[in-house]
């Protein structure tokens, strides 16, 4: 830490250091931790997931290899906008990519194949044995998957919390990690459904059948596993009181709500069948579920990002006081599209707007470097600061 900065702005600098300590932003870590039992369980989950996946797919894979190929390619493409959108949400005190890939892989392999598929099959069969096939077909999915699958996905976050406790501290971290676990689960399930759905015409038209699965599951996926897990895992962070806010009940409520959304989604309106005829139950069920989930996710995003935005501001405040950044630029970095648009509108001319955009990007780099340096003035921080000054003048060679 520079003596000069500390002498001039001790209060903002202290706040910056406190925020960096509390948020875990920029804390170094690694997933490979042989002394941590959770690392071995994580590995076991991946191996178990691959093993069961092969057992499930292998018997019919030769006859339906086209469906499998189409499914992998189409749903990999489908995952790209999801990945970009979630990465965009993950822009404040960012959850590192290593954690995101670990979470996605848990959702893709371990949660569905190592845990959920075996539990689901067994519970659905128990229902059929106890209550008959008709009852199990109508009610089974809704009374199975929300409990087994949400638990299976959540276990990935539990392991990560033990592996990187210093990095995953806030409900925002739980939201992002959960969303990527959910995305992995969703893509994995979609590929499997595409593969299984391709048997519908005895092996003919496998590509178009996978295409139909993509349309149906792709649309349903907008309100599916990614969202359920984001809500559930943010709730878990509050339940465990990771951020010290004491909102344990809120956490429990959110976990219950995610389970209910999953339940109503899988039930397809079966409970309305007794009062409404035809397609009414299904439409009513989905419309109500979508509205309720949109309201929840909007409130949750706003709530979990509130602290994060304040922290970005606190981390960059010393830079504002040192006149490296302007308050309006920090508003953009700690805000959203609205603040960005406002700043860009406040300047005129395309070249100037380009400069502002470059300054914002350079300021993001500076914030990241400050976090990685734990608030110290390392060479990387000084370089990032110089870069802000360079692009501000129009981008001459620095």
């Amino acid at each position: 830490m520079s003596q000069a900065t500390e002498a001039v702005q001790p209060e903002s600098k202290q706040r910056q250091l406190e925020v960096l300590r509390h948020s875990g932003w920029g804390v170094p870590f690694r997933i490979f931790q042989p002394r941590n039992l959770c690392f071995w369980v994580l590995l076991l989950g991946y191996i178990g997931g691959v093993t069961v996946a092969l057992q499930v797919i292998r018997p019919t894979a030769p006859a339906y290899s086209s469906a499998l190929g189409y499914g992998v390619v189409l749903f990999a493409i489908y995952a790209v906008p999801w990945w970009l959108y979630l990465s965009h949400l993950n822009r404040y005190t960012t959850v590192p990519h290593k954690i995101i890939f670990t979470a996605f892989a848990w959702g893709f392999l371990a949660a569905p194949f190592w845990i959920a598929i075996r539990a689901n099959d067994a519970i659905l069969t128990i229902y059929a044995k106890a209550f008959g096939n008709a009852w199990a077909s109508a009610w089974g999915p809704a009374l199975t998957a929300p409990f087994t699958e949400e638990t299976a996905k959540m276990l990935g976050l539990v392991l990560l919390l033990s592996l990187v406790p210093q990095v995953l501290r806030t409900p925002f971290d739980g939201f992002i990690t959960g969303a990527f676990i959910g995305l992995g689960f969703q893509i994995s399930e979609d590929i499997l459904y595409g593969f299984q759905g391709a048997t519908a015409q005895f092996g003919l038209n496998q590509g178009s059948l996978v295409g139909q699965t993509l349309v149906v599951r792709g649309l349903a996926g907008l309100f599916s596993h990614t969202m359920f897990s984001a809500i559930y895992c943010a709730g878990l962070m509050w339940l465990l009181n990771r951020d010290g806010s004491g909102h344990r009940l809120r956490g429990l409520g959110l976990m219950a709500l995610a389970t209910i959304f999953h339940l109503t989604w899988d039930a397809g309106g079966v409970y309305f069948n007794h009062v409404l005829p035809g397609a009414g139950p299904v439409i009513l069920n989905y419309v109500l579920t979508i509205i309720a989930s949109l309201i929840t996710i909007r409130w949750l995003l706003r709530t979990v990002r509130r602290d994060e935005r304040g922290w970005v501001r606190d981390v960059l405040q010393p830079e504002v006081e040192a006149r490296v950044l302007t308050p309006a630029e920090v508003d953009v970095l700690s805000g959203g599209r609205k603040e960005r648009r406002r700043l860009l509108r406040s300047v005129s001319g395309h070249p100037t707007r380009q400069i502002v955009k470059h300054v914002i990007t350079a300021a993001e780099d500076l914030a990241t470097q400050i976090a990685y340096a734990c608030g110290r003035d390392t060479d990387a921080v000084i370089h990032a600061r110089t870069e802000v000054a360079r692009v501000r003048t129009g981008g001459g060679r620095g």
Partner: protein, 221 residues
């Protein structure tokens, strides 16, 4: 606590000596054992409970299996209907003829019935089923003799063949087709795949024949 660089841990995965148990970080034991316990319950105990419960969904004389769109067949008596519905089952379901399944089991013998969109003939469907089986089972599969035509009690025509899979496992395929019209929005194929040990399969042959003879489609249902 001193803030000198020498006091910091060598890396983020370092664990102090007094926090280890058998070389593992004591703080990781709780979450790891919690996760393992949940996995054991969900993926071990629940399937074990399922295996311990026996099926009671045995078919009785006169039970008719609903394959959607008016397509039905009479189930052999005393088999377990592990998947699919009887025509008398009441539930919040409607069977789609283009995505219908039924599975009947009796000991090691299993009858898997599948309905799906099929624009061709029963012979072509049987040939497609053969192709799938050959791809999945490779050189272990040997078709025995030529396909035999079946005329059902309702006058529909289907085709069947037997095959050998490995040294002691046998199988039988049967295919029927129903043209579009009435309750069927498109042409439908119905495929029976019957598998089991050679000896047991032979024992059930008469009732399997009767089941195949009973396949029908009532246009008005």
């Amino acid at each position: 606590m001193t803030e000198s660089p020498s006091a910091s841990a060598p890396d983020s995965a370092w664990v102090p000596a007094d926090r280890r148990w058998l070389g593992l970080d004591k703080r990781s034991l709780g979450p790891a054992l919690f996760v393992l316990a949940v996995v054991i319950v969900l993926a071990g105990v629940v399937p074990a409970i399922n295996n311990a419960i026996s099926w009671t969904n045995q078919t009785k004389a006169g039970d008719v299996i609903d394959m959607g769109g008016g397509i039905t067949f009479a189930a052999p008596e005393g088999w377990t209907l592990t998947d699919g519905f009887r025509t008398t089952d009441n539930g919040a379901h409607s069977v789609s003829p283009s995505r219908s399944t039924a599975v009947l089991a009796n000991g090691a013998v299993q009858i898997e019935v599948k309905g799906g969109a099929w624009p061709g003939t029963a012979d072509a469907l049987l040939s497609q089923l053969n192709k799938n089986l050959t791809r999945n089972e490779g050189s272990a599969l040997k078709v025995e003799g030529a396909p035999v035509s079946i005329t059902t009690d309702a006058g529909d025509t289907g085709v069947t063949e037997t095959y050998q899979s490995g040294s002691s496992k046998g199988g039988r395929l049967a295919a029927f087709t129903f043209p579009a019209g009435g309750t069927l929005p498109g042409p439908i194929g119905l495929a029976f795949t019957i598998t089991g040990p050679d000896t047991t399969l032979a024992q059930y042959e008469p009732e399997i024949d009767t089941m195949l003879q009973s396949v029908s489609q009532k246009a008005g249902s």
